[in-house]
């Protein structure tokens, strides 16, 4: 009878969210969720049982161990002998204070932009996660988190939304939220022109860069690489991107509030791993099982999973390596498009992308000239990060958290 390794994953959230409608607080929600998953490994299979709240762990263990004969094939030794703990410290809030903070922000926007109606949500959370087993794995992480999404529309507009903003991070700061939201509103009332289709530098940040990076990550998945469907596959002519383009899988826990380990307990040195180095793919996304199956290195990317499911490879949080210049320096001397709100969009399997942009501003020398009409931007992802790649900024559009901007030339066309 092989030794059964026992592992426990616990995730807990204390959450408070404030709903906003017509620039006023509409609702307050509190939430406490605790999720427990226990995993039994026998060297050949894995079996998992889970429960919400404070379940009977003896019963969970019994279910997990009893389920091993009918478990999932998992001929991998689980992570062992790693002890690490990281606790982000942030400002403590009490419920009434939070509502007061949001009231102040809303009052500011009500008086400064009386022709705009704001709606959205602000979330405050204390999050913790731990993964421990009886083979020496003991990982724990805790953090405060703040995130918000705020949309606005002009009172006389027939659109459902005209613009918006949102971000997340470890620390809440009222003035930073106001400053970041102002960015979307301040240029809204002046207008810039774009008369015909042009190739222009496009500044992608605020999460919109992930729309295109997602395509890169899908191609870095070891499944698509080793099954031959990726542009980076050795079965095909391996694609090289711009030598200025490097991509890292990084938790950046202190800035993002993401935990530094994946669901299998893999911890990369310095919580970071280079996937693309100077345009060349050097590591592929995998979990421990996939790495064994395809004979590649484990990248610690078991990010798909829930407390009670078998962990598997999922798309990680990534950072484009900074090319050392500010947005102003990257776009120097050229008009550029700052994307603030997209309305959907699509991509073909081979990387052609296209998306309508509801709100964008024309930038000149890094300064907002005015609001562009509705535009569509399109390109090939592989051109964007090759001959059309201009750089990743050293500065951030946001003051609440540091998320740089990716700048690429793309086809920009008025709708």
């Amino acid at each position: 009878m092989p030794r059964v390794v026992r592992e426990t994953f616990v995730q807990e959230r204390h959450h408070l969210s404030i709903g906003i409608s017509s620039t006023r607080i509409e609702s307050v929600k509190r939430q406490h969720t605790r999720k427990v998953g226990v995993r039994a490994y026998d060297g050949r299979r894995i079996s998992i049982a889970g429960g919400l709240g404070f379940p009977d762990t003896d019963l969970l263990w019994k279910n997990a161990v009893d389920g091993l004969p009918d478990g999932i094939g998992y001929p991998i030794v689980p992570q062992t002998d790693h002890v690490e703990s990281l606790n982000n410290v942030g400002r403590e809030f009490i419920q009434s204070e939070l509502a007061e903070e949001i009231q102040i922000i809303l009052s500011h926007f009500r008086s400064k932009y009386p022709d705009l109606i704001f709606s959205g949500k602000a979330h405050f959370e204390n999050y913790s996660a731990s993964l421990k087993n009886d083979s020496g794995l003991d990982l724990s992480f805790s953090t405060p988190l703040f995130r918000y999404v705020m949309r606005f529309k002009q009172r006389n507009s027939c659109s459902i939304f005209d613009g918006g903003s949102g971000t997340f991070g470890v620390n809440f700061d009222r003035n930073s939220v106001i400053k970041d939201l102002e960015q979307g509103c301040s240029g809204y009332h002046s207008f810039a022109e774009l008369k015909k289709k042009k190739k222009l530098p496009v500044v992608l940040s605020l999460g919109y860069e992930n729309f295109v990076l997602r395509k890169v990550l899908e191609n870095l998945s070891s499944v698509s690489v080793f099954e031959g469907t990726s542009v980076f596959s050795p079965k095909r002519k391996e694609l090289e991107l711009s030598p200025d383009f490097s991509l890292l899988q990084a938790s950046d826990s202190a800035n993002t509030g993401f935990k530094f380990f994946d669901y299998e307990g893999t911890v990369n040195p310095n919580h970071s791993l280079t996937l693309i180095n100077k345009g060349k793919a050097v590591r592929f996304l995998s979990d421990r099982l996939m790495a064994g199956e395809y004979g590649c290195m484990n990248s610690g990317s078991a990010f798909r999973g829930k407390y009670d499911t078998v962990p598997s490879m999922g798309l990680p949080y990534v950072q484009v390596a900074s090319t050392g210049r500010t947005i102003k320096e990257i776009t120097a001397g050229r008009d550029a498009v700052l994307v603030l709100m997209v309305g959907g969009g699509g991509a073909t399997t081979d990387g052609q992308i296209s998306f309508p942009v509801n709100l964008s501003y024309l930038l000149r020398d890094g300064e907002v000239v005015g609001r562009l009409p509705q535009i569509n931007i399109s390109s090939s992802v592989w051109k964007m990060f090759n001959e059309d790649y201009m750089g990743c900024s050293s500065d951030s559009l946001l003051s609440l958290s540091h998320f740089p901007a990716v700048v690429c030339e793309m086809d920009v066309e008025p709708i």
Binding site: E26, R34, T229, G345, T349, S354, S378
Partner: protein
């Protein structure tokens, strides 16, 4: 059952969800999940704000009611239009689905198709999913409502990755039903689908951007209705917005007379919920009838703000969220043309057979998977198209052909996303719909 706090409106939603989920990478089982959770969502309203709590232990409902009440400002709510708008229903609605008996039988529902995909002669990477759900929701309110609602269903999904001489194409094949007795897995249609996808992958060419006549398949038309008009019909976007109210008066003509769109949470499909998450009985709501704007989708809050009736469209994706206005099963009603005429009357256009996703508010975007050029009424060259887009209202006016034949579909393993709530099961469908001009981007 509960001591509801005085001078406040309160309700409690208790959900018991049982679900089984299996997934495979090729024939290898990679996920085997069984969940059986009972959770609760509690709401308190004081006439000014809502106070919510979401908990994983229903034994704590009374404590949460009291804590939320302590945050609220009790007031006399007698005659409050919002509170008066709540339906006070009692009793049992719906039935739990009949599911395969035991783990092996469940796995076999998907596994019976494995021979089709594994023996496929081309270079194909595939994963498979089986999922079933049985959901019991109990809704109890301080006004006296006490309803128990059963619902659920099961489905399979194959994600397919084709690779041939450096050309790649991803697509999926899904089947859903409200019970095992009515589930049609369709081995032959899967085989046929694999062949079409394979031909598509090797032969598809890009299409120049521009305006084209587009024919939407019933599945694509259903998604178009959902994205282009359904979301715009959700009345929460109209609260406090006089401009939108002026622009969208009930009774105005918004489309050609041939177009009708409805939403119905009591109709078959994965959006069948019978009673919404505020205790309102679901009914068929005509959003557009014969081209006339005929209705909107409402929760109690939006209905009371707009002076209309709740429609049974307040839904929460799970216990963690408050109900917001959502679609259920949304469908374009049949027209009068034959499918042959819909295609036969097109000299040069595009046929969109499948979509990989879509989004939309004022402008909509749809991402085709399988798309084909139509020449002189015949389906010809396969096309790779990143996105179709358009202004929703203008596009409705461009509809010039609707078939008699319709079909309903349901999502498996995914669903509708709105604001922070993603993955809500919805049904969608309709006839073949021809649009004179749509932007191909």
């Amino acid at each position: 059952m509960y001591r509801f706090p005085a001078k406040l409106y309160s309700d409690v939603r208790i959900e018991t969800r049982k679900m089984n989920c299996f997934s495979w990478r090729r024939e290898n089982l990679r996920q085997s999940l069984y969940r059986d959770d009972t959770t609760a969502f509690i709401r308190v309203y004081d006439g000014r704000r809502w106070y919510y709590s979401s908990i994983t232990d229903p034994a704590c409902v009374q404590r949460e009611l009291e804590q939320l009440a302590s945050m609220a400002m009790p007031s006399n709510l007698r005659g409050n239009p919002l509170v008066e708008s709540f339906e006070v229903n009692r009793g049992h609605y719906g039935t739990l689905p009949i599911l395969p008996d035991g783990i092996t039988a469940k796995r076999d529902v998907a596994a019976e198709c494995f021979s089709v995909v594994s023996n496929y002669p081309g270079d194909l990477y595939w994963t498979a999913l089986y999922e079933d759900r049985s959901i019991t929701r109990r809704f109890i309110s301080s006004r006296g409502a006490d309803v128990t609602v059963n619902s659920g269903g099961l489905g399979i999904k194959f994600d397919l990755g084709f690779c041939n001489k450096g050309k790649t194409f991803n697509s999926n094949y899904m089947r859903y039903s409200g019970g095992i007795n009515s589930l049609v897995v369709g081995k032959d249609s899967l085989k046929d689908y694999l062949e079409r996808c394979s031909r598509f992958n090797t032969k598809a060419v890009p299409l120049s951007t521009g305006e084209y006549t587009v024919i939407l398949s019933p599945a694509s038309a259903g998604i178009f209705a959902h994205e282009s008009f359904g979301h715009k019909s959700e009345a929460d976007f109209m609260i406090g917005d006089r401009t939108l109210m002026r622009e969208w008066p009930i009774g105005s003509r918004v489309a050609p007379p041939s177009l009708s769109i409805w939403d119905d949470g009591s109709a078959p499909g994965s959006g069948r919920i019978y009673i919404d998450d505020e205790g309102t009985v679901c009914k068929k709501t005509w959003l557009i009838r014969d081209g006339i704007l005929s209705g909107r989708l409402h929760s109690v809050t939006t209905a009371s703000h707009l002076g209309e009736k709740p429609t049974g469209n307040a839904r929460a994706v799970n216990y963690r969220y408050e109900p917001i206005v959502r679609m259920t099963n949304t469908c374009i009603a049949p027209g009068e043309k034959s499918v042959k005429d819909i295609f036969g009357e097109v000299e040069d256009g595009v046929y969109v057979e499948g979509l990989n996703g879509a989004s939309g508010l004022t402008r909509f975007t749809m991402n085709p998977t399988l798309a084909w050029r139509i020449k002189n009424g015949r389906i010809e060259q396969p096309l790779r198209i990143p996105a179709l887009s358009g202004d929703m209202i203008k596009t409705l006016w461009e509809i010039d052909g609707i078939s008699k034949q319709t079909e309903m579909f349901s999502s498996v393993g995914s669903g509708c996303a709105k604001l922070e709530q993603a993955g809500l099961p919805v049904g969608y469908g309709g006839p073949f719909v021809r649009v004179k001009k749509m932007d191909v981007r």
